[in-house]
């Protein structure tokens, strides 16, 4: 019998790959970001470059150090100038060997340790983090680390009290090795929500949040008003539609980074023509104001954004306007309604869903703003144009602090989710009406 899928099963089969891909590249990373944000996780610090829920040992470095340690401890015993020091050295050796044995056996690391030693012997670097790191008991790690400190102090005391130079040198070497061994025993860097606490009370976070909100509200507001005006004006038959449409599309189509570079040139205090004209017309005191003061920087960023996205807004609204039947206006005219009344009674209510959808897309876009500000002002001067995305980026990649940076990422994500929910409440199911069909 031939195997045949019915339409429904086929439908699920066809949606599945895309849906799985979308979930894989969005939900999974967001979950990861959230998980990372619970750790003191820094790429540039070897003891924090992984996320450890429990204590850990860096076996590669530990095995390497332990090799020298056990050799030196035996040497130390043989170099002891008198019976008392020999006993002391022997007791340190026994203690450390005891801890070493429990570290390996109590955590069941015999095989892993042997494998690591073998690789070290053949000078192979270990890149597999499964092999390199091993979970160990928290209490044991604590005790071991405490004893390492103790032994260090004891060795220093022994070295000071003896006359034998070779004994003192060996004791010094061991003391140094013990310090290194200490760093290979890594305590858990799980810190729960304390990074959230830190960043929710962080002045720079709130400053960048405020900058982002100011940027979003002012630029989207200006784009809506200007876009609506332009859409109303060009919603008629005229010659040269193509030219207008193309000129409106080009700012939208070029990369934001390229637009930001262009505006950086136009705003420049020495060679920038926009700065020059603004100064000539008395809008600003000095041409350098635009990029060197906080208020100037914020204005510059918003102005460039309005330039780049108003045309897009106008296009969306124009498409909305064109779906309003002309007969409505004719009827209103017959009833004696003025232009202003027509706008408030017909245009605006019928345009409402187009406006809300355009606002939703633009607001979320503006809230995530990164490249425009990053290229144009770099968040400066003095962080006065730094958006929350830029702050997160700097924490993540300039400071290599993935834990704290993830906290900021999660804050951006939650804010975007809140904004979307608010908008969807207003828009309702209109958004899907045209698409999901029968």
């Amino acid at each position: 019998m031939k195997f045949q899928l019915n339409e429904k099963q086929l439908g699920y089969l066809m949606v599945a790959p895309a849906l799985i891909l979308v979930l894989l590249v969005t939900l999974w990373p967001v979950a990861q970001s959230f998980y990372n944000s619970l750790f003191d996780y820094r790429l540039n610090d070897p003891s924090r470059s992984e996320r450890f829920l429990s204590s850990n040992v860096d076996l590669e470095r530990y095995a390497n150090e332990y090799f020298y340690l056990s050799r030196d401890l035996e040497l130390l015993e043989s170099q002891a100038p008198d019976g008392e020091t020999a006993d002391a050295a022997a007791s340190i050796r026994t203690e450390i060997e005891g801890y070493h044995d429990s570290l390996i056996t109590e955590n069941g690391l015999e095989d892993q340790y042997a494998e690591v030693e073998e690789m070290l012997a053949s000078f192979t670097a270990i890149s597999d983090s499964e092999l390199k790191y091993a979970d160990i008991d928290n209490d044991l790690a604590d005790d071991y680390k405490n004893y390492l400190d103790e032994a260090q102090a004891e060795l220093t005391a022994l070295a000071d009290s003896t006359d034998s130079e070779e004994f003192a040198t060996t004791a010094g070497n061991i003391s140094g090795t013990l310090g290194t061994v200490d760093t290979t025993l890594i305590e858990s860097n799980f810190i729960g929500f304390s990074n959230y606490q830190r960043y929710l009370t962080d002045g720079r976070m709130w400053q960048s949040m405020w900058n982002t909100l100011l940027f979003t509200i002012v630029s989207v507001g200006a784009e809506l008003v200007l876009g609506l005006m332009i859409a109303l004006l060009i919603n008629r038959a005229f010659i040269g539609r193509g030219i207008v449409r193309a000129s409106v599309l080009i700012p939208w189509a070029i990369p934001t980074a390229v637009a930001a570079m262009m505006w950086g040139f136009l705003y420049d205090g020495q060679t920038g023509i926009v700065a020059h004209y603004f100064e000539q017309f008395g809008l600003i005191d000095d041409a350098s104001v635009l990029l060197s003061t906080g208020a100037g920087g914020m204005f510059s960023v918003i102005f460039a954004d309005v330039w780049k996205t108003t045309p897009y807004m106008a296009l969306l609204l124009l498409a909305g306007l064109q779906t309003i039947p002309g007969s409505l206006y004719e009827a209103a005219e017959v009833d004696g309604a003025g232009k202003w009344q027509q706008f408030w009674q017909i245009t605006l209510p019928l345009l409402k869903s187009a406006i809300l959808v355009a606002l939703l897309f633009r607001t979320l876009d503006a809230f995530r703003v990164f490249d425009l500000i990053y290229v144009l002002t770099g968040g400066g001067p003095a962080n006065s144009t730094e958006s929350i995305s830029i702050y997160a980026y700097i924490t993540l990649f300039s400071q290599s602090n993935f834990g704290a940076g993830s906290v900021l990422s999660v804050i951006v994500f939650v804010s975007v989710a809140i904004i979307s929910v608010l908008f969807i409440k207003f828009i309702g199911s209109d958004l899907f009406a045209g698409r999901s069909g029968r």
């Binding site: 895309a18 590249v25 000129s247 980074a257 390229v258 969306l316 897309f361 990164f370």
Partner: protein, 273 residues
């Protein structure tokens, strides 16, 4: 509203177009000035135009390589996104499956994801699989942007194709897959093409992933490459304006040829028919 356009209207239009295009005009005029002239004055036109800035822009940094990288990455992204999206969008608009609203909701939500919220795990992933500084290293994260966008726009276009054709195909004994390939796809081709252009432009313009993942100069894309023309000590405005002109030309051509389609694609997602 069929108001007739008067002379005042055309004056407004000219002023409007001039303001929108002004940055391009000025940057173009700057790019053909001899480099020495840029810093001294605000003259609009130069007496002796020169291509020196263009030579510098191409020689000082691998601009053509950036453009090639952008082209390859955007093309691959577009092909992958359209491939997956057209199949999914067809099922979402045409086949009797449940949870359509929910699935579309998830896809729309995914298209609004802030990139900064997903960049660090993606960065870790790309590093772990050894794809830093490669084309695939960018194509994979670009799926986050392009696939939801493509599904969203394509499902609008598919929705507009009349059902009758499909029903008659079904009566003639075509399987759903045959219907898709022989009836829907040819009819939907213009919509698919439009979606392709929009996805291509979105991928071409992406900045954050490109900045983070491809850090070697030979693998950089146009937006990142352009932003690195400014050095710490001097800002070579001549080079920058010439480079800007060079990377804007392909987009201007694309827009001029496909403007109707682009507008149709942009507005399809936001307006009920």
């Amino acid at each position: 509203m069929n108001k007739r356009a008067g002379i005042g209207f055309y004056i407004f239009l000219v002023v409007f177009v001039f303001f929108v295009m002004f940055p391009f005009i000025w940057v173009f005029l700057t790019s053909i000035k001899p480099p020495g002239e840029i810093f001294n004055n605000f003259n609009w036109f130069t007496a002796d135009p020169s291509l020196a800035s263009y030579e510098n822009a191409i020689n000082n940094r691998p601009l053509l390589r950036y453009m090639w990288n952008s082209f390859v990455v955007s093309t691959l992204t577009t092909l992958i996104a359209i491939g997956f999206a057209s199949i999914a969008a067809y099922a979402l608009t045409r086949l009797p499956i449940k949870f359509k609203g929910l699935i579309l909701g998830i896809i729309l939500a995914a298209s609004m994801f802030p990139q900064i919220a997903i960049i660090s795990p993606i960065f870790n992933f790309i590093t772990a699989v050894g794809l830093r500084n490669s084309y695939m290293g960018l194509v994979i994260p670009y799926i986050t942007v392009s696939l939801p966008l493509a599904i969203w726009i394509l499902s609008t276009f598919f929705q507009k194709i009349p059902w009758e054709l499909e029903e008659s195909a079904k009566l003639d004994g075509a399987t759903p897959f045959q219907t898709f390939r022989k009836i829907i796809f040819p009819l939907a081709a213009p919509g698919v093409f439009t979606t392709g252009i929009l996805v291509f432009i979105a991928a071409w313009n992406e900045y954050l992933f490109a900045l983070t993942i491809n850090t070697e100069d030979v693998w950089r894309t146009v937006p990142v490459g352009i932003s690195l023309y400014q050095s710490q000590f001097t800002i070579p405005w001549g080079d920058i304006s010439a480079a800007t002109v060079l990377v804007t030309i392909p987009i201007v051509i694309l827009v001029l040829i496909f403007q109707r389609r682009i507008v149709a694609g942009l507005t399809s997602g936001s307006v009920k028919e």
